[in-house]
């Protein structure tokens, strides 16, 4: 192979998806070139065709997809025309794939190292002993704790971030020429994400592996990629090297992606000392069953028209606190008061009026809406249940609510949730909460399953509704950019305890508590040198889990 020829050359690729008797173009005339040792970032909203294009670079299409035009060459081999046998020799050996959710992609019935050794043994790269020794070496390079021993565990015995690194090690097992990373850190906490990012970047550099890095997080792609390609609904928007792309994007769409992070609502002044809080938690301690408490002695107030963000990693007790407020999990000790009146601990003992005042918006809009009910029924039920409206009055109120969330009642009122996009479903979830005309809404990671543009729309909507209706929000999130955008006060939780709390502006200016500092510094920034600077400043050993365990 001549040095000038790129490792992967996709030209004028077109892929159709076939569903329900209709064909839709998923990838439309996209070309891509990737040289050895180069990392290309693919970004775009969901449905842009990033994953389909990434998989096509392996010569693979998902069920229901079909390559209808163009060709894919990997190292001079035509992958579209290649026999199954030729492809079998390439995949796993020269091309590897790292999936979004390592927890779902590992086989839970086999030890990690056995799964690691499978590909090298199948392809005859090494025997079992060599493969295991190599696995331990890779675990060491990826800075997994106990590299000699960790491979002999089952996937469920290892944390999410470690599992993602073990999967990267597995992809490296045959020293491939190309690795495709499909959103490898999207499901992880910020503190864990950073470890995985550092690990991936180092190992790709060490072995001079080419990579395609798929993500919708711009700040992540800024750290990882040499060049970035932006996709929109199957079309290529533009491609440039990372710095040019960040500093001087050519297309409006790219600029709008870049601008998302700038949305920020000014912080409201603190409530006066004698104001009655809408919700106040007083020394709440809660546990599941007879286990150890997962929330310990938590107290904070939420005032009218204000947003309190509760942040922390998964397992820090944020969602449990919300379950205590709604009454799903009665606290062991302590109490929850609504406008200074103590609420019964169990939701079954609360009156309809008390239930009406506390509403919830869920993270996964897919499971939050009954898939068998039409939008009109989903929003209409609380209207009927709480306000007693029926018939035409109920319908009018539902239409008002749909207009409030900026959706056309005529078009959407008779649809099923499956006929809506992710952002629209989340809006319906908001409308259902508003239908009860509550004072207080718990927003549980409402934007974390959404693309940035869509998420920004939801945050703006929440802000507008708060202004109009004097709503109070409790915002549960691990995404600090959301906090920066709409919160007034911040409560940082770790291991069920409140580590730090106060007005937002104070939280984002030093000095912080060590843990807050770690959380803040772990949020990737749009500066391509950010990760290098952070590494230089903190050192490799002071990131993620390692740093948390030192506290």
């Amino acid at each position: 192979m001549s040095a000038s020829e790129p490792l992967v050359k996709i030209s004028n690729l077109a892929i159709d998806g076939i569903a329900d008797e209709t064909r839709t173009r998923i990838i439309n005339d996209v070309s891509l070139e990737l040289n050895r040792g180069e990392v290309m970032g693919l970004i775009g909203e969901s449905g842009a065709g990033k994953s389909t294009l990434g998989l096509a670079a392996m010569g693979f299409t998902r069920d229901g997809c079909e390559i209808v035009g163009g060709n894919i060459r990997f190292d001079g081999i035509d992958l579209v025309a290649a026999t199954a046998e030729t492809r079998r020799q390439l995949l796993g050996k020269r091309i590897a794939y790292v999936a979004q959710s390592a927890a779902a992609s590992f086989n839970p019935a086999h030890k990690i190292i056995n799964q690691h050794a499978e590909a090298p043994m199948f392809h005859g790269v090494s025997n079992r002993g060599e493969a295991e020794a190599d696995a331990m070496d890779l675990y060491q390079r990826l800075r997994l704790p106990n590299p000699q021993e960790i491979g002999f565990r089952y996937p469920h015995q290892v944390s999410g971030g470690q599992l993602q690194r073990a999967m990267t090690a597995m992809a490296m097992s045959c020293r491939p020429d190309l690795i495709i990373f499909d959103e490898p850190t999207t499901a992880l906490d910020v503190t864990t994400q950073i470890e995985v990012l550092v690990a991936i970047r180092e190992i790709v550099e060490q072995f001079q592996t080419a990579a395609i890095y798929i993500t919708h997080d711009l700040a992540v792609v800024a750290q990882m990629a040499d060049r970035v390609k932006v996709l929109l609904r199957g079309d290529e928007v533009e491609e440039a090297d990372t710095r040019t792309m960040l500093d001087a994007p050519r297309e409006d769409y790219t600029r709008s992606l870049w601008a998302v992070r700038s949305f920020q609502r000014p912080q409201k002044p603190m409530a006066s000392k004698d104001a009655v809080p809408v919700i106040s938690l007083r020394n709440v301690t809660a546990a599941y069953g007879n286990g150890d408490p997962v929330v310990r002695d938590v107290s904070f107030d939420i005032h009218e028209g204000r947003t309190v963000a509760v942040v922390g990693e998964s397992g820090s007790g944020k969602s449990t606190t919300a379950r205590c407020i709604t009454g799903l999990l009665p606290p062991k000790t302590g109490e929850i008061a609504f406008a200074n009146k103590v609420l019964p601990a169990d939701y079954r003992k609360r009156s309809v009026n008390q239930l009406r005042q506390v509403q919830m918006i869920y993270q996964m809009a897919d499971t939050a809406l009954n898939p068998r009910k039409r939008i009109g029924e989903i929003i209409g039920r609380p209207v009927e249940f709480y306000l007693g409206l029926k018939g035409a009055e109920k319908r009018r109120r539902v239409e008002e609510l749909l207009e409030l969330i900026e959706m056309d009642p005529k078009e959407y009122i008779n649809r099923l949730p499956s006929e809506l996009s992710g952002g629209q479903k989340q809006r319906i979830g908001i409308a259902r909460a508003l239908a009860a005309e509550p004072k207080f809404i718990i927003c549980d990671e409402v934007t974390s399953a959404l693309d940035q543009l869509v998420a920004e729309g939801i945050l703006k909507l929440l802000t507008r509704l708060q202004e109009e209706m004097k709503l109070s929000y409790m915002l549960i999130t691990h995404d600090l950019s959301t906090v920066r955008a709409i919160a007034d006060e911040v409560v940082v939780m770790k291991d069920g305890l409140i580590v730090e709390s106060g007005p937002k502006d104070e939280m984002f200016t030093p000095p912080h508590h060590d843990y807050t500092d770690l959380l803040l510094s772990s949020v990737p920034e749009m500066n391509p040198d950010w990760l290098d600077e952070l590494l230089a400043q903190r050192g490799v050993e002071n990131l993620g889990d390692a740093a948390v365990s030192k506290m």
Binding site: E21, T83, A84, T326, L328, Y362, A368, F385, A436
Partner: protein
Amino acid sequence: MPSLSVTYWSALVVAGALALFFGGRQIGAARGVARLRDLSATGAFGYSLLVVTLYQALALYFGPGATFFKWAVHGVVGFGIAGYLFQQLGRHVGTSATRKLFRSMPVTAALGILLIIAYAFVAIFADVIAPYGQAEIFKDANLLPGGDPGMGGSPDHLLGTDQIGRDILSRLIYGAQNTVGIAFVTTLLAFFIGISLGFLAATIGGVLDQVLSRIVDMLMSIPQLIFALLLMTIATAWFGSEKGMVTLFMILIIAVLDSTRVFRLSRAVGMNIVVMDFFEAAKLRGEKLSYLIFSEIAPNAFAPLLAEFGLRFCFVFLTIASLSFLGIGIQPPLADWGTMVRDLSQFIAYAPFPVVGPLTASLPLMAAGAIALLTVAVNFVVDWMLHRASGLKE
């Protein structure tokens, strides 16, 4: 067209598989036919086996003898054509929604629907269709099917008569009403009991769930047919065996025993729905138990439960037929397929005799065939519905 001996047959299968595997791959690679080129060894073996067996079947069909095999071929081909025609009909007639449904439906499911409609029609209009009454006795007993007096039949009794001279066609038609009707009622009852208790256990949980589940475990641990026999004996001993009472006992007993399976399924399906956020939202809204069960859980459990209904119907139907075969199910003189198979079963021994042998042996097979055909039809439809339900989840 000579048929093959087992030795030749196996040798041909292996030779065909090897030729297809090595030769086919070469040709496929040269011509660029992906399906031939990427053929696996097991695939080649499968195709070879199919072709050689198809030849064997044709040889048997066009050769002498093998009367039952020929009947079976006629049946399969005939039903296949009927299913295909029905599917084509559905694709071109009806609303756009039903036309779309028929386009996505395999031929097997179309045939299943056609047969179920036919059975339902026969069962509902049995009084009109049947030429004679189900208990009517004629002087000519033991007439053979076919209606040809030279072959021991009679044009008045197309499918012949049984040992005491009852018209078999009429009894088959009434049998649809009795056997299928009773099975349907029993299955409905079993589902009513099973679903309501299952959803209740899933929603409330705790002690109620434990108590109900353990009772169900206990009932399920005893072999069903023997348990049903035992309960039938106890019931008739305590409450007498007047006309109709035995049938009532049978319906209740089978419904309760079968509702245990329905309970298991609806509890499991309910458990998966209860943990969803929309259910939590409804709970937190303060909704009552009846709303939670009927408006939140039930619509989402519809697909798996409907599929289970089809399967369960077959099992109930077969249990009734077996109980009737054993003599404690549907009581004479009511016609019932299980009883008919039992009464005529000794004629199967005449099968090897030339000319009239197969006709005689077909007497018990007609009722058995009616049972088998309905079971197959229901399963075709259930398979298709399960496939659709699992496809929706993706």
